[in-house]
Amino acid sequence: MSIFTLQSHSFSPVLANVHSYASELFAKSSVLGFFTNSVLVALVVLSLVLWFARKATKSMTLVPHKAQNFFEFIVEFLYGQVEGIVGPKQARLAFPLLGTLFIYILVSNWFGLLPGVGTIGWGESTGILSIKAAHDPLLRPPTADLNATIGLAVSAFLVWLFLTIKEIGVWGFIVHTFGPKGGLKGVMGMVVAAVFLFVGVIEVVSIIIRPVTLSIRLFGNIFAGENVLHTMSDLMAGTGPVGSFLGSIALPLPFYFMELLVGLLQAIVFTLLCAVYIQLSTTHDDHGHEEEHH
């Protein structure tokens, strides 16, 4: 009954109280003030990924064991995708970053779906070892922390910059961005040059915005997912112990599957966009070269 009442009045009261920021596990002013619940989970994710990578690559054989086989499957699949976008030459250089991005983001996203993440923590006490809601959860997926997603996007941006400069050089990058295409000369050539200069400025702005869009897209999706799951879990909170219990299980269940998909999708989107950015900036302007030869 209360649900209908809430829905009829406004949408905002039913939203769960999930913070848009990661909570510090130590005092803000202390040396460990940076140590948030998302940093803790990032360390757990780091340990998990490295443990599995170690397990998969320890005593590798031509006939692979189970862990090696699984890891090889992931690496081969990712390498194929990356190679298909950036080409064989750049794939060798870009794959370590893109592969790490995909695995790290995927594990982080799915880690947020584990029971206890976002629900165990500190809050208004309702009894021994029980709280009304986790105001400061102990665990929070790194991808639901804007610091982490910006960190990932900036890292990707730096590697993109390195690969671009390495491939085409600083002057090549400037020509690639601002240089006129089409080989027109005379007045038309000057007009086209002015247009391409303007397009170059827009391109630079879009390049600068890339880390922002990448990080906010990832953060927004995962943070929204957290909100959806919490909201669905709390939707029948006021309907008595049995209704509340059943509601907290049944209602978020479909959304867990959706979040599994979203987690995978966001990892793919982030990685593929980075690959596309690398491909766009490292592709040589063949037309220009051809015209130079003529």
Binding site: H19, L62, Q68, V75, P96, L146, S155
Partner: protein, 179 residues
């Protein structure tokens, strides 16, 4: 004189965003460091060996395929060679059989001729022997007949025949017996 109000408002908005999302250099750097640790270790100890292993396996499969192709080619070549050898051997065998057959026929013919020749010789010898024996018997018969005629003549005539009479009678008798 440019108004500072928009800048102050923008700065205020940035501060609000920073506060709302808990952005802080320390947290940002911590996250970046964690990611770079994962990146560095995966790059060196996971992706490198895995890609090398995949390349090694790919190379091995390619080598295997090439070897398989070579083996199939060699097998076809060997089958072709063996067929040629078999054909050659069959031709040689046929030639040998024919030669042996011809040789056998020649030998048979020669043996036959030899046997015929030998038989003719034996027959001729036998005939000679028979003629000789006949001649001897005839001369003995003649002698005996002559002696009997001489003896009969001497008894009939009561005359003792001298050597010349005996010789003449013998000759006449032998001539009549021969006739």
């Amino acid at each position: 004189m440019i108004s500072a109000t928009p800048i102050i408002i923008a700065a205020g908005k940035v501060d609000a965003i920073v506060d709302k999302f808990g952005l802080a250099w320390g947290k940002f750097i911590a996250q970046v460091i964690i990611f770079w640790i994962v990146f560095t270790i995966l790059k060196k100890y996971a992706f490198g060996p895995i890609l090398a292993m995949l390349e090694q396996r790919r190379q091995r499969i390619a080598d295997g395929e090439a070897k398989l192709e070579k083996i199939a080619k060699d097998a076809a070549e060997a089958a072709k060679n063996s067929q040629a050898i078999i054909d050659k051997a069959e031709a040689a065998a046929a030639r040998l059989v024919k030669e042996a057959d011809d040789a056998a026929k020649a030998i048979q013919e020669r043996r036959q001729q030899e046997a015929v020749s030998s038989a003719n010789t034996i027959i001729a010898k036998a005939r000679e022997a028979a003629d000789l024996e006949k001649e001897q018997l005839m001369s003995q018969l003649k002698r005996e007949f002559g002696r009997m005629v001489s003896d009969a003549t001497s008894r009939v005539t009561g005359k003792v025949l001298n050597t010349d009479d005996q010789t003449r009678i013998n000759q006449e008798t032998a001539a009549q017996v021969s006739a």
